[in-house]
Point group: C2
Chain length 490, copies 2
């Protein structure tokens, strides 16, 4: 698969239109659906081109958790007793994204997040006024609210008042993605948006001044020119399925083994935007994780490296843990547990690296210097018994001595343990979705959202579940509105 | 300062030439000088445009160490008893550059490295047939050969047979840079290459097919069009002096405090190349270091993080050490020493964070959990006494117990300790210097070398002193030759 930008077709070479619309959208996932709804509600003719034979995209494959809060709290947050402040949410996201943060996007996302919640409800999304209090990646019950990031973990808990912001739909099991995309698809259909399935977007149509007027799609094996009077939105996902782009831009992600995304996440949208002059941003960044919870009890354990040393507070989000695991020297990442705290982690697939009645027995089996692991455990246990973690500041709720018999799970990347990954770099855009050139000037007529753009979430060590679908749906809407405001070209 | 690509001037808008030459070179540092010599030796008319009032660039500010070896060894390596193999050099550099390695460039660099040594000698460079055996960043004596990277450090020593490959010129003190640039400048002058000083390259001149035909320079406050019949070489340094480019591309480097480069390292060459369609590569990468040696005795110490834990074998190259220091959680990086091993590190500027007759006394003063630092030292000492480092595999020559009285130097980034940095990302090029588009097709007439290109050295944790000047001089020559082979355009 290519990593080359896709050259646009010149407007002057277009000899006729197969179809004319106000707003053309590439990709019928979360971002594309939300953009279509907003643009249609603003009175635009909208057409979606989806390469697959059904809507969904990677949003349908996700749990469709959405990260929302601020403004005193969503209805669910308030019902559960949380008064979430916009500043706390902003401070948290800014700290979590660190030196890669896009302040304008984060600011808008935080300020409008409760409004986004209400909009989703108006689309038919049902959120139960209940909290899932167990540490989890998603709620497998029909409960709504849960902590999905590092809000309660050091150092973030000292930077901003923690608040749960992950919102799960009212549905049992990991079925939020199909449910949300089902609802959004219904809303799209209700609006008589035209949807072309099995339609592969090939390239953009651009005039000599750089303005984008439409796109070329392949339908029934024929190339067809589509005119978009107000704008084209690229909402075609990230590039996790494009080996060549990964090698060129994000080789570190290849230490993962489970790409998260749909087969259309080939970077096609990014490459089309780039071909039209769009700038790429933070292409080396991505999500990569080691999903060691649920069950929550594994968080009572400690992660150690090949030296038998801890390297992070284990109550962090699973991608933050993985990011730090990848920074360690030597080969070997292990989760050390009291056997009594072991419960099967359904997403982890880790082999047992060693067990023992004594630390030394386990350490020998694992291949960690026993004396060092012994110290790590002794030190951890002595302080944990007092509710303290002077080294990494793990929260007291997860501190208790690790006791015999012991078990060590092999979480070394490459050992067979599950390390999911997806890309976070993409086109540089304004909060309105306008695609920017290297000069940071908008390309007239061109928009991007979802993982085709570089959005709010930009790094594994600051990720939280619900940020990607949150960013895709929210900024998809922003792009839909902005396109509707654009004057229609004759 | 801008991070925007510089738009080229259209050839059709050029109404006359101020000057015509075969080969036009932007920048009279190491890369530009070597390219000029090769092109002139191949019979070309050559003109160099240098923004400063003298030659030098960042090469003159460096120690002008050059990383060379392979093919059985340079004359100096052989005289010092080293038979360096091309495969060992190749394997080392490939491992050191890891998932960012450019195999074609590394292969050519290793195969032709002894020839490069001989060429430098033919230019007047004098290398004494002697080895500087002390661990150092550069030889401050007039000795030539020394280890300048991680060759002898784990894990590299297990991947390729170690060999010293840093070559210092025969000169006392840190005076290699001016000496080398003096020699190369003489060689350039001998060849009657035309040199325009105080000449700022503004942009390239490109035709509608993308071919580069020359450049626009500002001389005496006037814009002048220069025609280059065979090619333009961008050898204008990196972007360490461009705040906006650093923020956009390499924010991590801003954790350093001493930019290494000349005031002209503004990324101007990179932005001109990008404006003409050149692709950028690995722009987030750079060199960043903590120069804790010389004196070599500080390597008997151990580096610990805020937890009082070691994190790397301390016999590594100083940039590898810094790269790993930046990966640590929490605030605090300390070098723990026996007071008897302390000697003033001339480049470090570290404050004493604590001292003590006992480990606990020192740990309290530093603010590290004493019990943990005690264990770290006890464990290290017990094994060091036997010449072992089971945790990080520090080489036996640097292993001995750390004894009372103790001292801790504060090497925390931001504490005032010296953390030099420079950029390693740049234009994507072939080994011939041809600048590549995103499609990895050469842009006819356009070349780049030195830190304007993304060369052999691509990451702090795999850097070795001598790689940047080595890469600049070697690939500058390759570009000079290739331009000379290009047919002259009428």
């Amino acid at each position: 698969m290519s990593a080359q930008p896709t050259r646009p077709r010149r407007l002057s070479e277009v000899d006729g239109w197969y179809h004319e619309t106000d707003v053309a959208i590439v990709g019928f996932g979360g971002a594309g659906a939300c953009a279509a709804i907003e643009a249609a509600d603003a009175g635009c003719a909208v057409t979606i081109f989806e390469v697959a034979s059904a809507s969904g995209g990677s949003t349908a494959l996700s749990s469709a958790e959405i990260y929302m809060g601020g403004s005193g709290g969503t209805q669910v947050q308030r019902a559960c007793g949380y008064e979430d402040s916009t500043e706390a949410m902003f401070d948290y996201l800014m700290a979590a994204q660190g030196d890669l943060a896009d302040e304008a996007k984060i600011r808008l996302y935080c300020e409008e997040s409760v409004g986004h919640f209400e909009w989703l409800v108006s689309m038919g999304a049902k959120y139960k006024e209940s909290e899932h209090k167990e540490r989890a990646i998603m709620a497998l019950t029909d409960d709504c609210l849960l902590y999905t990031g590092n809000e309660k973990s050091w150092p973030f808990r000292e930077i901003a008042a923690p608040c749960p912001r992950g919102h799960n739909l009212e549905v049992e099991g990991d079925n939020g993605g199909p449910l949300l995309m089902g609802l959004l698809t219904q809303q799209v259909e209700k609006r008589e948006v035209r949807v072309e399935y099995n339609a592969r977007a090939l390239t953009l149509i651009q005039d000599d001044e750089g303005e984008v007027h439409g796109l070329v799609v392949r339908i029934d094996n024929e190339e067809r020119n589509v005119r978009a009077r107000r704008g084209v939105l690229l909402a075609a996902g990230g590039f996790v399925m494009n080996e060549e782009m990964l090698s060129r831009y994000a080789p570190r992600l290849k230490r993962g083994n489970i790409p998260i995304g749909n087969p259309g996440d080939t970077g096609a949208g990014i490459l089309m935007g780039q071909g039209a002059g769009g700038a790429l941003l933070h292409m080396s960044e991505g999500f990569i994780s080691v999903p060691f919870y649920p069950p929550p009890s594994l968080t009572y354990g400690i992660f150690v490296n090949a030296q038998g040393q801890r390297f992070i507070n284990e109550d962090v989000y699973h991608a933050r843990l993985m990011d730090h695991a990848l920074r360690q020297v030597g080969q070997g990442i292990y989760l050390i547990l009291s056997h009594d705290d072991y419960d099967h982690p359904p997403f982890l697939n880790a082999q047992v690296a060693g067990t023992g009645e004594t630390v030394e027995e386990m350490a020998e089996e694992v291949g960690i210097p026993p004396e060092n692991l012994r110290h790590t455990l002794d030190f951890y246990n002595a302080h944990a018994a007092r509710g303290e973690d002077p080294l990494f500041h793990k929260s007291p709720e997860w501190l208790k001595p690790i006791e015999s018999p012991y078990a060590a799970l092999d979480c070394t990347p490459g050992s067979g343990v599950i390390n999911p990954y997806f890309t976070l770099g993409g086109l540089d855009t304004l909060p309105t979705g306008e695609v920017l050139t290297m000069e940071r000037e908008p390309i007239p007529g061109l928009y991007a959202a979802g993982r085709t753009a570089c959005g709010v979430p930009r790094r594994a060590d600051g990720y939280a579940s619900g940020l990607s679908v949150g960013d895709a749906t929210f900024f998809g809407r922003m792009a839909g509105r902005r396109m509707a405001e654009a004057p229609a070209r004759d």
